[in-house]
């Protein structure tokens, strides 16, 4: 589904290199965890995959479902099934959550040449997905993320994912700021979306999340490249020994 080859990324208006030859292959149905210390480039990877401005790819390629992902605009990527659950979901005052979700879903459907959802069908879909994530009507009535607690924001990201039904889900530190109960709700939501034709990249700093979302592969990102890959036991090893060993390997 996703082939990242030798990806080099620098900041667009600075000479700083953030990703430094990153290679990663993700197949449909797989869950990949990317772990790494703060500042290793995890969020940058998620932004480059979703098309945020401010980054420049100087080398390498990203092929998604056989197409050049980097040539697409952010909304085209989304319509083709790429979804990023943001590390820091932003508040958008004045834009109602339901309206936002409906425009997003129907824009994607339109871009794919599918039939758009009627308002009642859309309402039903959202209510059903929201109840599984403990998201009540009062949260849905507010503007996008406005006044949400940290945990509510993360749940709202997963709700968007559940409504938009992407093929490639990138979750950037979805566990941060969650207490154990909220973590379970979010993990159940994510696990409910696991499917043979959906892939997930779960970015996290701690292995805790991986007790709930069990990955098929674990990668260690350090200084902009993947320095070690393994099975889920690698996460436990990291938890025990820390990232220091990889910092030196990457240097």
């Amino acid at each position: 589904m996703l082939e990242i080859k030798n990806l080099h990324v620098k900041l667009a208006d600075e000479d700083r290199v953030i990703l430094n030859g990153l290679t990663l292959s993700v197949k449909a149905g797989e869950v990949h965890a990317i772990m790494g210390p703060n500042g290793s480039g995890k969020s940058t990877l998620s932004y480059v995959l979703s098309g945020r401005e401010g980054y420049e790819v100087t080398e390498g390629s990203v092929i998604y479902k056989g197409e050049d992902l980097l040539a697409m605009t952010p909304s085209e990527r989304a319509a083709k099934g790429v979804f990023l659950a943001f590390q820091y979901p932003i508040e958008i005052p004045g834009v109602a959550t339901m309206q936002f979700l409906k425009v997003a879903l129907n824009s994607q459907k339109k871009a794919r040449g599918e039939k758009e959802l009627s308002t009642p069908d859309f309402m039903r879909l959202v209510k059903e997905r929201a109840s599984k994530l403990n998201i009540g009507p009062d949260m849905l009535k507010r503007p996008v993320n406005v006044g949400f607690s940290g945990g509510e924001k993360k749940r709202a990201e997963i709700l968007q994912m559940a409504v938009l039904e992407p093929s490639l889900c990138v979750l950037d530190e979805t566990d941060s700021g969650l207490d154990i109960d909220a973590l379970r709700v979010v993990a159940d939501g994510v696990n409910g979306l696991r499917s043979p034709d959906r892939a997930m990249i779960v970015i996290t700093h701690y292995q805790r999340l991986l007790d709930y979302i069990v990955p098929d592969h674990v990668h260690v990102l350090s200084r902009g490249r993947i320095v070690k890959s393994g099975g889920k036991s690698l996460a436990l090893e990291l938890e025990a020994k820390g990232y220091a060993q990889f910092e030196s390997e990457a240097a």
Binding site: S75, A78, F83, G94, V95, Q99, A111
Partner: protein, 389 residues
């Protein structure tokens, strides 16, 4: 030095305000009144033109009783409300009022007692004819304890100068929600002055949408005459092309214990120019005044411009007053968030612009009126976002 009179000034027989005058520095009418607009012309309007304009009001389906003015004259056959003779007493030396005093042909005289549930619409329409000045003078009185919602709509076609002066008295314990919508013709000039006095424990909610005319100058004065009153004066600009809109408000706290809020949200595209001049005066003895004003501009193009001139004149010490002004383009993080969910750039921008002006629309209490304005705003956005993805 003798200043050469402009053609328009000679035609009027009076001088126009110009940029050397402090309040008019951004709106030099000697230049902007670009040709003579002869006053007091009699133009007979064709029925189909009038019908087309009436239908184009955003409130065609919202309003209750209407009072319609065609080319500056009360049109009884189109109005459900009877009109009275206007006797206005604004005693202010102000260029828009001076012009109005010289040229006004007619106007609305409304006296409201009791609670009027459905909105009343004053509709001023101008049909296409030779360039001319149309001046109306209105008096609105909300009697003690009365409450009403008043819509004032300005629509037109062709090239003309419309001058509208309105005197409003809100009596003790009374409430007025006023919504003015300025949708004059693209080649029109719109000048207005609204002078409002508020009695004890009254409520005044005023909203103005400015989206028509090539040149706009709108003055508003609110005088607090009795304690315990509250005024919210808000508005939105939705401007493109070379449109120019200058709004000047003076909120005059003459007595203690009153609250005033001003909020203006200005969306400017192309080469549009917006100006917001807001002055809050707290007179000696007007303690416990709570007065705040803010203006925010969203510039959709690099050539659009916005100037804000907030002023506070405070002669009392126990007051809370403040002002703020911002100007900028769309928030890129917001845009990216929306686009990352599959919303195409042009639509993402529209959502954010609608959210920006929506904050001002939200101050309109009447749902039907608010909806009509949101609809208008969406139409405006769909016409102004093309090719700007």
């Amino acid at each position: 030095m003798v200043v050469q009179k402009t053609a328009a000034e000679m035609n009027y027989g009076l001088s126009l305000p110009h940029r050397k005058m402090e309040d008019w520095r951004w709106t030099d009418l000697r230049q902007l009144v670009d040709k003579p607009y002869p006053p007091r012309q009699t133009v007979v309007a064709a029925a189909k033109d009038v019908e087309r304009l009436l239908r184009s009001s955003p409130f065609a389906k919202v309003g209750g009783a209407r009072m319609v003015f065609v080319n500056g004259r009360y049109a009884a056959e189109l109005s459900q409300l009877k009109n009275d003779t206007v006797t206005s007493t604004i005693n202010v030396d102000e260029p828009v009022i001076t012009m109005n005093a010289a040229f006004a042909t007619d106007g609305a005289c409304l006296k409201i007692s009791g609670t009027v549930d459905t909105p009343i619409e004053l509709l001023f329409i101008t049909t296409n004819a030779a360039a001319r000045t149309i001046a109306t003078r209105n008096v609105v009185e909300i009697e003690q304890g009365a409450a009403a919602t008043l819509i004032e709509t300005h629509l037109g076609e062709g090239s003309y100068l419309s001058n509208s002066v309105t005197q409003i008295r809100v009596g003790e314990g009374a409430r007025l929600d006023r919504i003015k919508v300025e949708l004059e013709a693209a080649d029109a000039i719109h000048l207005s002055h609204v002078h409002t006095t508020l009695g004890k424990n009254s409520v005044f909610n005023d909203f103005t949408l400015t989206s028509g005319a090539k040149t706009n100058r709108q003055n508003g004065t609110v005088e607090f005459k009795g304690q315990g009153s509250e005024a919210k004066v808000s508005g939105a600009f939705m401007l493109g092309g070379r449109q120019h809109a200058d709004t000047r408000l003076v909120i005059d706290h003459q007595v203690p214990h009153c609250t005033s809020r001003e909020l203006f949200k200005c969306v400017m595209d192309d080469n549009a120019r917006g100006i917001f001049q807001g002055k809050v005066i707290v007179q000696r003895g007007a303690q416990k005044t709570d007065g705040k004003q803010s203006s925010h501009a969203l510039l959709l193009s690099e050539t659009a411009e916005f100037d804000a001139k907030p002023e506070l004149e405070i002669f009392a010490d126990d007051v809370v007053c403040g002002h703020g002004a911002t100007s900028g383009d769309l928030n890129h993080d917001h845009l990216f968030y929306l686009m990352s969910r599959g919303i195409p750039p042009a639509e993402a921008k529209s959502l954010l612009i609608a959210a920006f002006v929506g904050e001002a629309f939200d101050l309109i209490a009447h749902e039907g009126i608010k909806e009509a304005l949101v609809k208008f705003s969406n139409k405006w956005l769909s016409q102004h976002r093309s090719g700007r993805a």
